[in-house]
Symmetry: C2
Subunit: 350 residues, 2 copies
């Protein structure tokens, strides 16, 4: 089949392809599985900016030595409710999942735990890791800092990361409740996607390299994105960068940008787990959460609104649809994946 | 002097007056001092919606028995990195400060600690408590849930709180870096202030009781406020309410509104402290924070922007000005305070 054919892949085929590519590039089965799970989960929920789109960069970084395919994350230092993990330059998902499991495990006895992960790469879908924490019954929170892509409020230079935050809350008999957003107006991946598709950006979300507003994704990719929500969003973006960078002994801003250029993604991921049992009866907690969601969901709607949407609701509906109907893959992304698979002699799904 | 005279009070006079009012209403010196410190700090920074304006309600709640002036907050349950505190229906500042000190103390050994405070009243300026945590060298985070005042995105009923979040980061040789914002578009206090001053609200921040948009603060006070920043802000507002309410065994939404009506502010405050020493060298951390703020502050400005403002910067300048020139007090607020002082036979500052 030609790389130009528009593609819809089944979840199984997509995951299998990614796993093969990771393994052929040098990853062990565990690492390849984890990374494939995270990318697949993003693609299933319609977060295509954090799915297969990321595979080529991850493979290139393995090939350049920036990512260590055989990494062994290890605990550098720990206390009852905290730990610092050196991810050994692992694939982002490998380091972050290690941190998530450790945070949940430590919170079980300490009540709360914060785990910092350094020397890992881009973690892709932040929400994935806190969902894993929530599946143990704990509340999970993660934030991470990215290389500088966002300008300060009132400024024009890219100095802040797109610094996402995700929180997951366990709910009895259901998938966890998930909040997951970037503190930039739009994700950097959306800029790359718009560029690949020849689409324009919405106004007000980006500046070009000359510091003037632009809707051209090509200019935005060399310029800077806006943080979300005025001074509140700018503040949150700035603070999360400090917590996922310097607090963990990692970098932020220009020094982080410089480190990435030199082949070391010297940022951090901060994961926090809170055990509801440290505060209240976990069953009562989960029932109260359900009751609040129910009163919100069933409350009076504004004119013209068909449905009040709980965070993550649309993504879960999309996930069910794509599990059934397959995952559409952008032509530009597919072309790159085909090229990488070809190089590595990984056969494409039929 | 007449209650109609426009007032500017020195910080000392304002604090002294509040302390006397609290003590005469039944508070011990410690509690009166803490509550006065918090209200003064808000007024000094120009957050008049969280300062003296709150005093009358606090006193009325002491008089009705909703607030216990002689409360003794106590630890109900704890683990290495967590605790639940029953504030014994204390003034909000008394319970929250107890929680902040406990969180900082526990983080010193556990690395991280999360403390839930229940059975406390409205905490006024959220940032105050995390600044106290930051002064011990830890990063501090707080969130709290308020009675339902905010409508869901796409809805019109008030079901969510204005749920603020505040984060403070210690900086060597300086006051802590502080982020402090409500997850509603505007604070409920701003509605009350606009009403007292006969001013209109900006468009897009509130609905009237019939669910239609309004700029009339009187209608907004009976209606509902918008959460900030579209679906991201709605999500954050919703999640923070779940973490400060149900996670701590407290209420959120309609049940919280009902409890307040029945004379029990059955909400919670969640405080988290992170000891930088659990992850990295605290001095290096603080130097990196300073360096990042400096690169942001000194970066290229957008046309027409005189200054890139770091969160909290304007409030600190205002604080210095008001310490020097005094704190202006709204006429309507002053009238209420004069009435309360009269009842309690507390003499007004000359």
């Amino acid at each position: 089949m030609s790389p130009d054919t528009p593609r819809v892949l089944s979840a199984t085929a997509l995951r299998g392809l990614m796993e093969q590519v990771f393994m052929t590039a040098g990853c062990e089965a565990d690492a390849a599985g984890v990374a494939s799970d995270v990318l697949l989960e993003a693609d299933l929920r319609g977060y295509s900016t954090h799915g297969l789109l990321r595979l080529p960069t991850m493979i290139r970084r393995i090939q350049s030595g920036m990512i260590n395919a055989a990494a062994r994350p290890r605990v550098v230092t720990e206390r009852a409710g905290s730990a610092l993990v050196d991810a050994d330059r692992a694939l982002g998902p490998v380091g972050a999942l290690f941190g998530a499991r450790l945070a949940a495990h430590k919170a079980e006895s300490a009540g709360t735990a914060a785990v910092g992960v350094v020397n890992g790469d881009h973690i892709c879908m932040a929400g994935y890791y806190v969902e894993q924490i929530a599946k143990t019954g704990c509340v999970g929170l993660i934030t991470t800092v990215t290389q500088p892509l966002v300008h300060p409020l009132g400024g024009t230079e890219r100095l802040l990361g797109t610094n996402p935050v995700a929180i997951a809350i366990p709910i009895r008999g259901q998938e966890p409740l998930l909040l997951d957003f970037a503190t930039s107006e739009i994700a950097y991946g959306s800029v790359l996607t718009a560029k690949a598709r020849g689409e324009q950006l919405p106004p007000g979300v980006a500046l070009g390299p000359d510091g003037t507003p632009t809707t051209d994704p090509g200019l935005a990719a060399q310029g800077a994105l806006a943080s979300f929500a005025g001074h509140k969003g700018f503040g949150l973006c700035l603070f999360l960068g400090l917590l996922a960078g310097p607090l963990l002994g990692a970098k932020v801003g220009r020094p982080l940008g410089q480190a990435v250029k030199e082949g070391h993604y010297d940022k951090g991921d901060l994961l926090v787990a809170l055990d509801p049992g440290a505060f209240t009866d976990p069953g009562v907690f989960q029932d109260s959460v359900k009751a609040h969601l129910e009163e919100v969901k069933s409350s009076r709607k504004a004119p013209g609104v068909a449905d009040i949407r709980i965070p993550g609701e649309r993504a879960r509906a999309e996930r069910a649809r794509r599990l059934r109907d397959g995952v559409p893959v952008d032509q530009e992304v597919w072309r790159e994946v085909v090229a990488i698979a070809g190089e590595l002699k990984v056969s494409l799904p039929v």
